[in-house]
């Protein structure tokens, strides 16, 4: 059992249309890949809207069941998770990061509460002090500290900071896999790169594998190890990240790459900031 995550011929269809016409929408159409347990990596899923990448991520997180095919985490079928104890055990190892940092937390409640609850539930913190220590440690890993976050509401912080806090919360349980669905698309452009490179640091220092879902090829290039490109629910190209992005073969991949707007207008990139 050397595989952390195994996605085998997974389909997900939705039925649409009314009484007089049944349409079948194939959100995910025969997708297969796997992630090794021994070697942490950043596995990127590239797709535009309607490509099925969000549905796929929700299936991996056991929020939605596949219509056909299996998803196995550490050898166990994810769709067979039932009961509180199994679910908690699963969530200990797999944590999500969502797209909208402003929606990821309840706007009426304080942020630190989520960190403490996660610590109590998943990190074995027995009392409030232990929970605070755990939360502080996780926050330090993302470049923040508990003093900055304590007793704060979401509207008091920026999108970049909120997303960091979401990452910290996901790290508290020491997961093996983090599923990040478009984590930086709603963060300001100038803050994106630092969060994206944070993923790289997490992989190297903590040994966490990360499934990074995005439509942005440029950030994917920076940190990915392996990559698959999805379109209308199926995989059109996959392989080593640099190889695929430097020289894409499938027409859709080539189209994606050509659509990237480069800030280099034929001029040499400017010098780094002082």
């Amino acid at each position: 059992m050397t595989e952390l995550l195994e996605v085998a011929n997974v389909y997900r269809t939705f039925r649409g249309g009314g009484l007089l016409g049944r349409r079948v929408i194939r959100a995910v159409d025969d997708v297969s890949f796997s992630i090794d347990a021994g070697r942490p990596e950043i596995f990127t899923i590239i797709g535009e809207s309607g490509s099925g990448k969000t549905t796929l991520s929700r299936m991996i997180l056991a929020m939605v069941r596949p219509t056909a095919g299996t998803i196995r985490f550490k050898g166990n079928d994810v769709a067979a998770i039932a009961g509180r104890r199994d679910r908690l055990a699963f969530m200990q190892c797999v944590q999500p990061i969502f797209q909208n940092p402003f929606e990821a937390f309840n706007p009426l409640k304080r942020l630190d509460r989520y960190l403490f609850v996660t610590a109590e539930r998943f990190a074995g913190a027995g009392n409030r002090n232990a929970a605070e220590t755990q939360a502080d440690r996780a926050l330090h890993q993302v470049g923040l500290s508990l003093t900055e976050v304590r007793r704060r509401y979401p509207h008091e912080l920026s999108g970049g900071q909120l997303q960091r806090i979401a990452i910290a919360r996901a790290l508290i349980s020491s997961p093996m896999l983090i599923v990040a669905d478009e984590p930086v698309s709603m963060v300001d452009a100038s803050l994106r790169m630092s969060i994206v490179t944070l993923f790289r640091t997490l992989r190297d220092t903590l040994g966490v594998s990360i499934i990074y879902i995005t439509h942005d090829l440029a950030t994917a290039y920076t940190i990915s190890d392996r990559i698959i490109i999805m379109r209308h629910g199926s995989v059109v190209e996959s392989g080593d990240a640099r190889a695929v992005l430097d020289a894409p073969k499938h027409p859709y991949s080539i189209l994606l790459k050509s659509a990237i707007l480069s800030p280099d207008l034929g001029n040499p990139p400017c010098a780094q900031s002082p």
Partner: protein, 331 residues
Amino acid sequence: MTDTSVLNVRDLRAHYVLSAFGINRSVSAVDTVSFSIGRNEIYGLAGESSSGKTTLIRTIAGAIRPPLRILSGTIEFDFAGKRIAMQAATQNDLAAIRWKHLSYVMQGSMSVLNPVRRVRHSFVDFAHRHIGGTIPDFLNTVRAHIERLDLAPRVLNSYPHELSGGMRQRVAIALATICRPDFIIADEPTTALDVVVQKSVLAMIRSVQREIGSSMLFVTHDLSVHANLTDRLGIMYAGRIVEEAPTAELFRNPLHPYTRHLVASLPRIGVVPPVTTDLAGRPPSLADPPSGCRFHPRCPLAMPICADQPPSLRTVANGHRVACFAVGGAA
């Protein structure tokens, strides 16, 4: 420069004043902003969220309602001899210029297109009174305009929800340009679109602007978009413009420390950067901004004078202005 400029903003200061339910707060969203946009020019405005760019657009478009107030400064449009001062414009003045001389393309195109009526009705609602003629003649004009922009005429008979997001945005651009306005305000028009669609919509914007010759104020936080579309670019931070230059020059030679950080943190295919160091801190709250230069708490070049006085926007090279004591010289 002012003779050929279509928009002239001078020393504009706009605040939100909130006084309700026991809370008094004044948010200084736009602070002493001055710039001008010439004919047939695409001017880009870049900035993060809470940089004040949305407020700036609102004041320029004449959408000034409490709690937003203009404290001082002028916003002057010059539509081929017809001048109008936005800060003092009445509803009648605004109605006269809206769509005919000044139109907009917003991020959510659904807010422009009526979701329960077909697209052609939206065209009639917005533009018929300016172009005149009978409805069938008007619709022929619309059809010709749509075809020139490479859109299928059948979109006129569709409902907005039947079209994809990119299609809707293209229709919104066609709608905004049908009267051949002198000035178009575009607020993040491509931000919510997929990459492939974004490229074609930007191409459409560029070609229609070239054809009509209107000026455009294009606002987005995405610098790559600016690099590929705009002629001149202004960078906003915490309610002020900190640097402004022709686009190519700005990317080639950014001077302000904030601009340098923005340009350096752009991801590029084919380039794997080292672990990026973030700027410390975060954009300030506009309700309680730092004294002097609003960037000084995060600036690697901060000097004692930066906390005392705000630097003014000075020209350092041809068309290149920057507001910084360290790189732009003394105030």
